[in-house]
Subunit: 176 residues, 2 copies
DNA sequence: GTGGATTTACTCGGATATATTATGTCCGAGTCTAGAGGG
DNA sequence: CCCTCTAGACTCGGACATAATATATCCGAGTAAATCCAC
């Protein structure tokens, strides 16, 4: 029951990317510097977010990452699932069937009550994360955080964001 | 974001122990056999439950484990925390302070909003687990499960439970 | 036959290997930019 | 002076080591029961 550090990094990066102008991008190296992380390792997690269609990556010089959709439509659940995987934390191994007495499969049509209870709790967890939109995180930061911190972060974004020419994915042109 | 298999084993064992008569016990080896688990490894988790005061262990021949308190007062949260540890799954590394720009500590008196959101979700998770009493699990099993499964499990308990002479911990006689 | 000391067998508990996962690092494919050369 | 071609540098992406954790195992300490012996 431990989440990897990548989750924290991914959310912070997404929050930073929510503050860029238009379709500008920020390079992974810049974000790694901003949070004191290993650049190569952060790329791994950013890549997971890109695969999950949460971020978009622009290659080449002046490239980087940007949000694939508005921050209002990105939740913490999206990010957590992208980084940690979509499988539930509790995996029922059906050990109730592993005993010495072999019973017919029809005796186990009812789902394991323990699994039901654990998955119910996990649904509550995911529901709470689904309520937390990235835009809410950013808004709360803008209103509650220390002005010095906000100034520093905005300056960092201003300094490292790089405008792009193409539009930010006009409804997936040549995907499927 | 994955729970160890020990959680599943621990809950199943606790549920089985909820079905014993009076202060009787069941040995760890018997429960390992019932669920097809490695006896030595299951002992590790049962030991965690004992340390957490959820189970009581009786050494010597005819010894074993029993619940330390009624099943109505044991929740899935108790078991999960005992096995997986009490620390929250999301650990804020305060990477917002790890950037190149060193700000005064007074700029970070406000807690990290991301941490707040993650911990809120985790509180929802734990609240749901705290609602699930072990007695509820057992009751749901008794009413919903297949009669053959119930018969087999009751027979197993009847065959492996062993009466004890001493009373089940009369308010902790010589603890502190 | 009975009481007690002793041996015995069974239990849990912790210390010790192994497998799996998470973490961290490195190198290669791709792409846009900048500059040199020719028209 | 302008256009084109080429070389370069910077980006992300995936393949490769290392560290931490979870899993599995083994051996020892402790205890209650059963046994054996003396009375």
């Amino acid at each position: 029951m431990k989440l990897g550090e990548g989750v924290e990094a991914a959310i912070h990066c997404a929050a930073m990317l929510a503050g860029v102008d238009g379709n500008s991008t920020i390079s992974g190296a810049a974000m790694a510097e901003a949070f004191g992380l290993s650049p190569s390792y952060l790329l791994k997690h950013l890549n997971q977010l890109t695969t999950a269609r949460i971020l978009e990556s622009v290659p080449g010089p002046a490239g980087g990452y940007r949000l694939a959709r508005p921050a209002e439509r990105i939740t913490l659940l999206d990010i957590v699932l992208a980084v940690e995987g979509r499988e539930p934390a509790f995996r029922c191994g059906e050990i109730r069937q592993r005993g010495p007495v072999k019973l017919d499969a029809s005796a186990y049509v009812q789902p394991c009550g323990i699994n039901v209870a654990m998955l119910k709790a996990e649904r509550a967890y995911r529901a709470a994360l689904a309520e937390a939109k990235l835009s809410d995180i950013v808004a709360a930061y803008q209103s509650d955080a220390d002005p010095r911190s906000i100034a520093v972060n905005c300056a960092f974004v201003e300094r490292h964001q790089r405008p792009q020419k193409v539009q930010p994915s006009p409804a997936q042109p040549s995907k499927a």
